[in-house]
């Protein structure tokens, strides 16, 4: 395949960025977008030039490290697919592909296509956990969870933390990410005990650092983990519940 790539270059957080045009005429349909970038970079490195920086790790859709904006869409054209699994057969021969970092006020650019997503970790640090020390847990078989609840919880726990939902959202909201965690833990047998406290603390941080949610639904469309859109409503619901109850659980 022949492709024209426009790839984002940005030396650092405070420097101006620009697109650099690269022609590729030996791309293969089976390549992922990241393998295409590897291939381009290989050429730069062999010529002694600095390649394009981008983030990735597992290359199998589970670690959430990858993420770039492909033709204006986080991760690329394929629905619910992370960048590392977006293959070139989704594009046509001769097409121009524009590759740039995730765009969001919450994600400062570090270099080229790498952004800082630490704000997501910060939300988690406020309450995305169960307060139980090692060794103190009761027997997991005595804490019954019905099959359906456990599976539903897992649908939300599946979030890979890539941050595409925020980049896809016109408001830069992290409601899908936060809601997923709130739903997951509220259904776990011991996570229930601090359900209210968790919602208050996480949502306070969410609101301080990300945009608000107007239910556009763009997030669920790009989410590689297929977290259901209903998760965003959990943010408001859990927060309201906590406010009315006025208790930690």
């Amino acid at each position: 395949m022949k492709l024209t790539l426009e790839i984002w270059r940005q030396a650092g957080p405070t420097q101006e960025g620009h697109f650099e045009t690269v022609q590729v005429d030996d791309a293969s349909e089976q390549m992922s977008i990241l393998e295409l970038l590897d291939h381009v970079n290989e050429g730069y490195i062999e010529r002694g030039e600095e390649p394009f920086a981008f983030a990735s790790d597992c290359r199998e859709g589970i670690c959430g490290t990858c993420g770039l904006t492909v033709n204006g869409r986080p991760h690329g054209p394929g629905q619910n697919t992370p960048a590392c699994q977006q293959r070139l057969f989704n594009f046509t021969d001769g097409q121009t592909i524009k590759l740039e970092p995730f765009r969001s006020a919450a994600y400062p650019v570090i270099k080229d296509m790498i952004v800082d997503r630490a704000a997501l970790d910060h939300v988690m640090e406020q309450g995305g956990y169960v307060s139980m020390d090692a060794g103190t847990a009761p027997d997991a078989d005595t804490l019954h969870v019905n099959h359906e609840t456990s599976e539903y919880s897992l649908d939300h726990a599946a979030c890979i933390g890539c941050g595409a939902c925020v980049a896809a959202c016109p408001n830069g909201a992290a409601h899908l990410f936060t809601g997923a965690k709130l739903v997951h833990l509220s259904l776990m047998p011991l996570g229930k005990e601090e359900r209210g406290r968790r919602a208050r603390n996480m949502v306070d941080d969410l609101e301080a650092n990300f945009g608000h949610c107007s239910l556009y639904g763009e997030c669920a469309d790009v989410c590689p983990a297929g977290v259901p859109l209903t998760a965003v409503s959990a943010v408001t619901r859990e927060r309201a519940r906590a406010a009315f109850r006025g208790k930690d659980d």
Partner: protein, 671 residues
Amino acid sequence: MTNTELKREHPKFSHPQSIVPGVSAGNILESNEPHGVPMKDMWSHQKDHMQLVSPLNRRKFEVLVVGTGLSAGSAAAALGELGYKVKVFTYHDSPRRAHSIAAQGGVNASRAKKVDNDSAYRHTKDTVKGGDYRCRESDCWRLANESVRVIDHMNAIGAPFAREYGGTLATRSFGGVQVSRTYYTRGQTGQQLQLSTTSALYRQIGLGNVELFAHNDLQDIIVYNDNGKKRAGGIVTRNLITGELKAFTGHAVVLGTGGYGNVYHMSTLAKNSNASAMMRAYDSGAYLASPAFVQFHPTGLPVNSDWQSKTILMSESLRNDGRIWSPKKEGDDRDPNTIPEEERDYFLERRYPAFGNLVPRDVASRAISQQINAGLGVGPLHNSVYLDFRDAIERLGKDKIRERYSNLIEMYEEAIGESAYETPMRIAPTCHFTMGGLWTDFNEMTSIDGLFAAGECSWTYHGANRLGANSLLSASVDGWFTLPFTIPNYLADHLNEEKLAEDSPEAQATLAQSQERIDRLMGVRGENPHGPSYYHRQLGDILYHGCGVSRNVEDLKEAITKIRELREDFWANVRIPGEANDMNQVLEYGLRVADYLDLGELMCVDALDRDESCGAHFREDHLTEDGEAERDDENWCFVSAWEPGANKNEFIRHAEPLYFDSIPLMTRNYK
């Protein structure tokens, strides 16, 4: 340390002569197990006799933890919970990303709730036998005994394990064992264990007990002389965003830096998984045990092109219905569907009539590799064999096959561009797990005082072959239920000692050493410049061929020579564009490859030195009459733990003799 009165004597042990030039025999290592106590009780005895640190004194100790995977993340969280001051380091941008996240199948625990007659004994036995008796039995007992708490704890902190309709935990049978002891969360068990552990770590970070240093890559370990003993006092890291090197010091250092499978270039590990922390420890004098013990997975996605970034695991369940074959004729590039039945070799069915395509992982990997090495490989690079659903589709119908394997077949089609319903799939063995790693004693301390190692970067539990679903467990047992006991026990001896100062000469000397290494790499200006991947790729090819699924003396010798040449070439010609004091991914990679070259050499030395077959270490010159691996318990029933020799190309082999009390030595048979 505890239990000094309970040391073991080794009247029968003597170091076998090495056939490798440059290898000399070293010491007999002390495991620090409480000798005299039955293996199965050693861990509880050890714990009972450990020293404690009172809650008020814990804040006086600073522990540096490298890694945020299941092993290191849990150690950091648990030590934070206990009240120690913890600093945790990872090169990832977030602690959640460690490669533990990619494990799929499940996690073993011998909770023995069912009436299928599982027990800690059986779990220990499966682990020891699976490891072909090249592990410490007492470690395996700890693994089995602590497994109960791992599941309870992981469930409590958020892992939504699969549940039966009655609400209790579901289990499945995994990795060829006859009982059902594998707990799972769909096909994403690693992810859920990793995320729960990360949550616990987030909690400690939020509470201020643990300080996180993301984007920080370990460059060196600060080791100093403490009254004639080597002692770890800190680490040097490189900030991957700014390129800044910095020394951090503490009272103890923990490495939980994962497996080294990427030395093979192509493996199922994440792109950034590496061996650097382990190799830095080795260079500083921490012994490296059994580096040649590597597990290959038989059903990896084949490498199809030179741009493919890594191999991916496809579930072994494919072997339930797929028949594995290769053409009988060398270089047979015909469309596989046109190759007639009599020209196909269903080699697993032929060689292992009882188990056929379902022989254990290592047996399958080996047989497949032998076909490929004999020139019978298929595909554009002649590096794979067929896994054919034709007969299963004929027998069961396409719908049934689709129902069973559709997600795998889709994944294959996306990656390779072929439909397995029409053309046989191609598979190849791929490096998947590394049993070798830093040698540690029963307390998981390396041969450097105060330097601990946990998870896949250490050698513990898995011997010469890992039992499926035992490594998520081992990483969890290490971090949650071993180090939180053994590290305080170590620290108790150092109460009221100041940690090494960050501006001390020792710390600054190590910092300078890291800087020098980077300068040296950046400064190479050769005639024939190439980027790091040029060398890494070649190293991978050398290792797959020479130190892969099946090994022989000649190929190993050749591999050692080739690696040494490649290393010369690398240090004379490698070219790193960009600057060192900036984010520079090529520099990061170059540093990795430099370590892989040394590690690759050591792996081949270990494989050549260990003059027997055991587990995944299959030496063609040590076979039983019917072509199976033949252990030599007389001479090699010990762990080799390596130290660099005084000169280049010299190595010292230390040994820890192995003893078994409740699981007597015996051989396995899958014919």
